[in-house]
Subunit: 248 residues, 2 copies
DNA sequence: CGTTGGGTTGATCGACCTCAATAAAAGTGG
DNA sequence: CCACTTTTATTGAGGTCGATCAACCCAACG
């Protein structure tokens, strides 16, 4: 039993042409939760004008850390991992991008991390220049962007607590619950938590090793906090998991 | 020999009245590096109108995590620690605010961390409402705020790498160099790195314990990478420290 | 049906934490 | 200015959690 439809984690199934004419902004399913929200119709039309809809297969690089940031992206479905690599090869995942997330919020001249699709991913691509011009024209958009960046900053600070002060069990529990909350906002799922990423991804996000992550999952399953299902986990005792995550 | 004037770390010495009429925005020394930069004169006058200059002694709380965010702050001198506390008491410092830093970038309804002065600190305080109104009126200001938030986000992501993937020595070396770079931007100091915060603060910032931080300092001193001086360190071999920090 | 990538489990090791003692600063009051 | 306390920093000894190394399982796939 798949956690969340397995194999169709919100990404469109079937073929995935590099460029899709696709749906227009007005009918975008992700609109209610992404930066486009709260834009007037004329603003939305303008945004639509500079957008290019792109769909990528799993394990494709959207952009590399250090690349000139000529484009910014709006994820409309699927999942991407965002990571930085230390000169000697160690990897740190700084976030997983889901439906509604915006890539390139920092608005620096170079991308500060690499973005790689985990599942099939569809995004709206904007030329940084175009998007920047538009946000200069429509204060709504800039305000929305600021609000998003601020929210991301708060999440990043939370993750610092996770990485700096929680032990392995707490980190994994926190991760599962935080991801559950995100899925809930996207598709309403509450007890089934899809985990399209690998254990290594989770480890690289939580500052642990694959083995440790795997062991904690097993321990949680043994303690009847959750059940490991293909493609994710099903929460059995969310309340105790909250305690295990040091969130309560 | 103090690292940077010791006892006067950019904070004004002498008395520190809670409310200071102080300098006006036009003559603010921090202006070139804070959000006020690039504002037109009339915008600056407007900002000046809603600002209240405040000066606090060391170890004063500016605001608490969870407090309604009725005010936002612009640090004009001194240092503050920004931290979150896990329910059971563990503390994680998410950043040190220096001259030019803006507190409350996330622009959420509640503060996401506690801000406490390390040295004497002077700030410009703005009612969140006022500041928000003003940034609605002056796109420059909102753009500047967005740019600041984006920059903070990039720094937070860097810190995730530090906390998730670097060992104790690398963390401390990285910390010293990153702080050195910040001082350089503020006052040009290059080899003397002021450390007004305690070892415990550094430990809580780097996800370590006081003892480990202290040991690493001693080891670095023994290896002639730096010299521990009252109030900070003097860098002896910055190049080797860069290597130790996994930055090169 | 062999190969490959991902996941789990076990045994051992070591980096950092914990506990403890001491030293050095920084206040504090006489 | 000097005793006295309190806070901060350093150093040592020993313990522990998560890393490392290694074996094995399983499903997907050509």
């Amino acid at each position: 039993m798949a956690a969340r439809g397995q194999g169709d984690d919100g990404s469109n199934s079937g073929s995935c042409p590099r460029f899709t004419p696709g749906v227009r902004c007005e009918h975008c399913l992700a609109r209610s939760i992404n930066v486009c929200h709260a834009l007037e119709l004329d603003e939305l039309v303008a945004l639509d004008g500079i957008a290019r809809r792109i769909c990528v297969e799993p394990h494709e690089i959207l952009f590399h850390e250090g690349d000139a940031a000529a484009e910014v992206f709006n994820v409309t479905s699927g999942m991407a991992r965002l990571f930085k690599v230390v000169p000697d090869g160690r990897r740190q995942i700084v976030g997983f991008a889901l439906t509604g997330d915006f890539l390139g919020l920092a608005m620096l001249d170079r991308h500060e991390y690499t973005a790689e699709s985990v599942t099939k991913v569809s995004v709206c691509e904007y030329k940084t220049r175009d998007f920047s011009d538009l946000s200069g024209k429509y204060p709504h958009l800039l305000q929305r962007l600021q609000s998003f960046t601020g929210h991301e900053l708060a999440i990043a600070h939370e993750q610092m607590v996770v990485l700096g002060r929680l032990n392995a069990e707490e980190r994994v529990a926190f991760f599962i619950l935080a991801l559950r909350d995100r899925w809930t906002r996207i598709d309403g799922s509450k007890t089934n938590v899809a985990l399209p990423m690998t254990r290594l991804d989770i480890a690289d996000y939580l500052g642990l090793t694959v083995e440790t992550v795997s062991r904690v999952f097993s321990r949680f399953a043994r303690q009847k906090l959750l059940v490991v299902v293909p493609g994710g986990v099903r929460l059995v005792d969310p309340a105790r998991l909250e305690i295990a995550a040091a969130r309560a």
